[in-house]
């Protein structure tokens, strides 16, 4: 917790500031009094049991939902009013489902990264260059004209990263991106994300695998309705926040069923 606090004091302008947010879908709150900052250039790993509100928190951070209480700011603006879509690269949990069945090429998907900048009209030379660069950066140039559905799971994930890179995003949000990807490709994938983060891209990652998070993330937030930990990965391993978050789940369930 101390690391986060000092960071907050150091830089006045976090990329995302979640301030005392409560949110629920109708009935019981999914998130309760959550406050968290994401600093520019950081790599935040969000961990917690199933149904702990991780994806909801990410939606709130990106302004896709509005909090019931509290405020969320994104790039210094209220998150829901923020409209520079090209600064956000988002790979949703179910993103690759459509990609499996739909006839669409790698290049067509990566081009979508330019859509927020150019929704109508012809692509400029800069647009096309950004697309080529993105393809090359994640190493899928030779796959550009292949149908996305006929790629391996690991290759497909790179396509979505390339889409975010093509839009020259400042923030990359990934919601369990490696579900169904083999171990070796996963290692490579997180290596790529690590490298991209090192070049200054801010990353938020929701991931089941705690090991991945503690290896690559610069910050860890452990969540289960409430925030149990927010800070340095090394500190996180030493605390009992994880077992508390997972254990609390049981407790809540029992409590609710009374």
């Amino acid at each position: 917790m101390t690391t986060a606090t000092t960071e907050r004091q150091q830089s006045g302008n976090p990329l995302i500031r979640v301030d005392d947010v409560t949110f629920g879908y109708g009935g019981a709150p999914v998130l309760e009094s959550v406050s968290i900052d994401v600093e520019p250039g950081s790599f935040l790993g969000l961990v917690g049991p199933n149904g702990s509100g991780k994806s909801t928190l990410l939606d709130l951070m990106l302004g896709l939902r509005r909090p019931d209480e509290g405020t969320v700011s994104l790039f210094g603006e209220p998150a829901h009013e923020f409209d520079a879509g090209e600064r956000i690269g988002y790979v949703a949990q179910d993103a690759t489902k459509a990609a499996r069945d739909m006839p669409i090429t790698v290049r067509e998907v990566v081009e979508m990264g330019r859509y927020p900048r150019r929704l109508f009209g012809r692509f400029s030379a800069a647009d096309r260059q950004a697309i080529e660069d993105a393809l090359e950066q994640v190493g899928i140039t030779d796959l550009a004209s292949r149908r996305v559905g006929r790629l391996s799971g690991g290759q497909r994930q790179r396509v979505f990263i390339a889409r975010a890179l093509a839009s020259e995003a400042d923030l990359l949000a990934l919601d369990e991106p490696t579900v169904g990807v083999d171990a070796e490709s996963r290692e490579e994938f997180y290596g790529l994300i690590h490298d991209l983060n090192a070049t200054g891209l801010t990353v938020i990652l929701i991931e089941h695998d705690i090991g991945v998070v503690t290896t690559h993330a610069t910050d860890v937030a452990c969540l289960n309705r409430q925030l149990f930990f927010d800070g340095d990965p090394e500190e996180f391993v030493e605390t009992d926040a994880l077992s508390q978050a997972y254990g609390k789940d049981q407790h809540i369930l029992q409590h609710d069923h009374k």
């Binding site: 923020f82 739909m102 669409i104 859509y115 929704l119």
Partner: protein, 351 residues
Amino acid sequence: MFILRRLGEGVPLDNVIATPLFAVNVLAPIEWFLNYVFGPGMNVLADLLGMPMLEYPYMQRAYLAALCIALIGPVVGTFLVHREMAMISDTLAHTAFAGVAVGLFLNSAFSLTLSPLLTAFVVAIVTALLVELLVEHAGAYSDTSLAIVLTGGFAVGSILITATDGGIAVGIDAYLFGSLATVSTESVGILVLMSVLVGSLVTLAYRPLLYVTFDATAARAARLNVRLYKRLMVVLTALVVVSAMQIMGVILVAAMLVVPVAAAAQVAESFKQSILLAILAAEFAAIAGVMLSYVYGIAAGGSIVVAAIAVYAVALSSRKLGYRLSIAQRFSDRQSKHHRKELEVDGGKRE
């Protein structure tokens, strides 16, 4: 049939019954196109192919109408099918039937002269937007709610028809199963206009429509107006379904938005290619279906759909075959590569 033929042969425009839906000045270019461009073109084709049926004006109208349907059906259908919303086209077609019934009922009850097609457009578009609003609330398309709207629309239609005085049931068959004989210049005019309208809207909004179809969540994060484009998509569907309804029939019209698209998805690599192939598949089915319908005196809508399904079957089996071939190819490639390596070694020595 005699009247229909006369219309096509260019009766002075004053004699054409001006419909409330489209004023004569809108129909005039269509008349001109049929009489001086499409008609003569088809006559030449009739001579070339030795098929006199292509010379009859009512067949020429039927062909032009079918060609238009085979264009706009797959263009809109490609987006629908890949959003897994194929059922909505069927639902809207059935509520459009209620729209036709509303028109006929109002005409008979209040002695109005509304075009039933106009009321069908209104009812289908309103239903499309209502369904979309429901989905925005519920978060997902549900089979159950679509089934309720579909059967509900059809039920209201059947009630209104039986509640209407006079023998309007005669015209209902044509709406249910479609008919080539009832393709008036007006119907063709509507289809040509819709082709231009739907074609240009999809061309203009191609990128947002594609993004929303492929990955709506990311499109929202990228600050696209996802709701607007989803609504546009269902309204386009309503337009296509209603304008194609007279030829394809309420029950079969959805097939033109689904079957060619499914065929194209088997073989296409890119999305653009899939749209193009779906149009080609639909055009082939339309031409073959209309021809079969004429030659054997069978239902046009049904013939077109069966032809489209045949194309789908071919696409499906060709992909399966192609897959097997590619495995065989890879195997023989590996062998020949091995062979080449040996050759290169030899060649290197010789040089």
